[in-house]
Every structure is written in C-alpha cells, then in structure tokens.
Symmetry: C2
Subunit: 259 residues, 2 copies
C-alpha cells in the first residue's frame, strides 16, 4: 500500500525559513509520526522561497542574446536573460516557450522559472502590484533535499527520504507532470535488469524512474492553485531507501535521441 497525505499547516514560506522545522511541526500538528522509510515530497517552490531565490525583473539587465531570443519567444527580455543565466543550452525557441537544458542538467521549459505565488504582499493584492517577481529553481536541489532530510532525521530519529518536485512539460504528451529535481535518501532509478519475471525470463526493460513516478503521485496532491499544499508525506514507497542524487535520472546528452 502506498499512501500519500498532504501536510496541512505549512505556513507561507519566507527567505531563511528552516523547512525541516516547518515540516516537522506540520507533521506533528497533522498527527503524523514519521517512520523509517517515509518520504517527504516538497514542491520546489517553497525550497526556492526559503532560499531567497526570487528576483524582480527590474534587477535584470538583458544581454544582446536575451533581446534576440525575446523577439523569437515573445517574452520579456529580462525574463529571457534569467532563463539564459539558469541554462547551459537552448534547445528550442517558439513563441511562448524556450526549451533549455537547465544548469542542473534536466531539460525543461523556461528554465523552470515561475511567475506565480512568488511575492507575498497580502493575499488579494491586485496583480499589478505583485507582478515582476520571478522565482528561480533552488540553487542545488539535491543539497536542499539532503539538508531537509538531515534535519528531519535528526528530529525524528528515523531513516527518511526527501524529494524536491517540480512540474515539467514533456515531449510528445500534453500536460505537466511532477518530476524529481532533487533527492536525498531515496533511489532515483531502480534497476530491475536481470530479475526474473513470473516465468523465468530475464526482464529487459527495466530501469524504473521510481523517484519520478513518486514525484508525479505527490504532485497530484500539491495543488497548483489556491489550496497550496506544498508538502506531501509518503508511506509505503516500495523500494529500499539509499543514498542518491538527481544525476542518476538524467539521460547523458550523447545518448539522447531527442535533443
């Protein structure tokens, strides 16, 4: 049985907040007692906020290349400048979308830079007063996950995993899905190669993107809209916990047929 529960009572996160403490308190108030093998899935947005990764467009000076891509993508050149700074390589440009290899190694749209929920003045402020703030992805989501995991393990005395989740679009299919962009304590890939199936065949497909499957599941509960449930508690993940990093989920560029 796999059980996912949104933690209520996560407050609006501010720069400098200790997420492991906020999550620990929220789990406590939800009467969830952490157990060995539990995983906390956390939207990248609150990790970024805690790390002070918001930027106001007025602080950004676009480069010449940003101006060029701004025309092709029909985007604000300052936003494009931020996308370029957060990226290793631009793969595709279309009106509305710039697909990049993010500096963290994954391929995503607009370098994962988020417009929404960034700047809390007060709920209900008109858009005009809050726009212009953008939220970059965490500087090092594996390290963020590790720090939160350490904090929660120290408080609970249990062996835990932490998954930092972002929503990405995909080649070929519509709709965003939650994917792992940082992880600590749980496997990204699970290798089933060589295990026999029911009839003694060796399985051939067989590296399972388990952390991404879990990220998708958690994302279902994270509520992109008004509810705001940025942390999901997971019990019953079917694979053993172990040390891991995002890199195991990233297809090496030279093996990628779709760049």
């Amino acid at each position: 049985m796999l059980n996912l529960t949104s933690l209520p009572n996560i407050p609006l996160v501010q720069p400098g907040d200790d997420l492991s403490e906020l999550i620990w308190q929220a789990a406590h108030s939800a009467q969830i007692e952490l157990q060995d093998g539990d995983i906390l899935a956390i939207t990248s947005k609150i990790v970024s906020k805690a790390e002070g990764r918001s930027v106001h467009l007025s602080q950004v000076e676009p480069s010449g290349r940003a101006y060029e891509l701004a025309v092709l993508s029909d985007k604000d050149p300052r936003l494009v400048e931020l996308i370029l700074r957060e990226s290793r390589e631009v793969l595709r440009v279309r009106p509305g979308t710039i697909i990049v290899e993010h500096r963290l190694g994954f391929v995503c749209a607009n370098a994962g830079i988020d417009h929404s929920n960034v700047h809390a003045q007060s709920a209900g402020d008109p858009v005009e007063q809050t726009e212009g703030w953008l939220l970059l992805l965490p500087a090092d989501p594996d390290a963020s996950a590790w720090a939160i995991c350490q904090g929660l393990q120290a408080r609970s005395g249990k062996r835990l995993g932490v998954l930092v989740v972002d929503s990405h679009g995909r080649a070929w299919r519509l709709g965003t899905v939650g994917v792992a962009i940082g992880l600590a304590g749980l496997p990204g890939l699970v290798d089933l190669r060589g295990e026999p199936d029911l009839f003694g065949f060796r399985l051939r497909i067989t590296q399972v993107g388990a952390a991404d499957e879990l990220a998708g599941a958690a994302s279902l509960l994270m509520g992109q809209a008004a509810e705001g449930t940025p942390v999901v508690h997971v019990r019953g993940f079917p694979y053993p916990l172990r040390a891991a990093s995002l890199s195991e989920l990233l297809r090496p560029k030279e093996q990628d047929m779709f760049r």
Copy 2:
C-alpha cells in the same frame, strides 16, 4: 489523502478472461469495497493477454523494410515487422531501439511490444521453451478501459474510473515511468488555466497530466518482476471523474518540438 493498494489474487490471465469479473473478485477477496470516485489502474499486459494479443515470431513474415530496420536496430526482423505493423511512423532507429509513433498515437520504444511474462506454460520453464512469444498492446485501450469500467460499475453500483497503464521511456530522462495508454471515467488532462493562485495571479502553467501522474504512482506498485501485481486500487484521486479518452493526453504532432 491518496491511497493506492495492489490487489492480490489476480490469477494468471488467459485469452477471453473477463477482467472486470477477475478484478471484482480480487477486490472482494481483499475486502475492498468500491466507492464512488475509486479508480482501478491496470497494467496493459493483462489487458493484452485477456484480449489474446500474443503473437509467436514464427507467425510473422518480415517485409523488406523490416529487414532494413532490423539491421539498423540489431533486432529480429520478425519483431521489427510487428513493430512496424503497430506503428504509424518511425521516429528514430538505434541499435536496440526503434522509437515510433504507435498506431494509438503516442510515441514509445518498440511499439510497446513486450517480451516478458507472455506465455504461461508453467512457471519455471526454461527460457528456450517460452521465448518467441510477444505481446502487443491492446487493440483499443480506451475501449478496454471503458468495458472494464462498465463491468465494475454494474457490479458495484458506483461511479468508477479505469486506467490502462504501460511503462514508457522518456526523452531526456532515464528510467521508464508508468503512463496512461487508455482511460475511462477519469480525466487525462486537468485544466487549471485561469484559476487564481494564493495571491490572485492567474496560473500560467496549468494543464496537468493527471492520468499520467496517477499511472506513474500505480506503476510503482505494479511490480515489474516476480511479484506480479497487475491491478492497483486507487482512492482519493483529487479531481472529479468525467468521461475522457487518451487523445487528450497526446500532443498534436504539429505542436511537438521534439519529433
């Protein structure tokens, strides 16, 4: 709360089996009483088996094009012939892999043709006696899902959803993940466009591939290896059930930047 439970006691599926009856019995024996809003996620493999979609290589006569691609892909020309028959278009060919647009509209490797768990003679038969059998994807997984959904709704009197799940590789990332290849009664995409976020912004990202997120979650419990748990009961899917089809998850070819 989102809760996923593998149904134990699904027998080895044979051609002609009524999956809605097998699932109904298995839910009963697991003391799961179906409720309005519950979803059954089913691996495509048992849907194919029930529908008699296994083919022996000796029955296949390769075309000239299959021989050509067999050389490029280092695959048996008879397997390649089946891949071509199941596909609309070949997108990439590399040793070991042929990426196609499947006749069902999605992009996947090797037309989803599966080697493992196909031919039940008796458990433990050596590979030599069972190889040569291949399992094609269901002829019409939306229709399969609909029939199973109807059967379970008639038995239970509840409003249910059914998801047919396959494991696909992805551009850019390693590891397979469960995705929807057929659905009935639950949304494929959930459109959050225009809903305000916490601070009154209009959300911009916003079509969520909810059925794929759920397929990934269910896939975690399906056990690709010896356990064999082909059906997962889902309670707590956070979006309203509605009529749907796979087509809503497929990116129109002309909008696809990565073909």
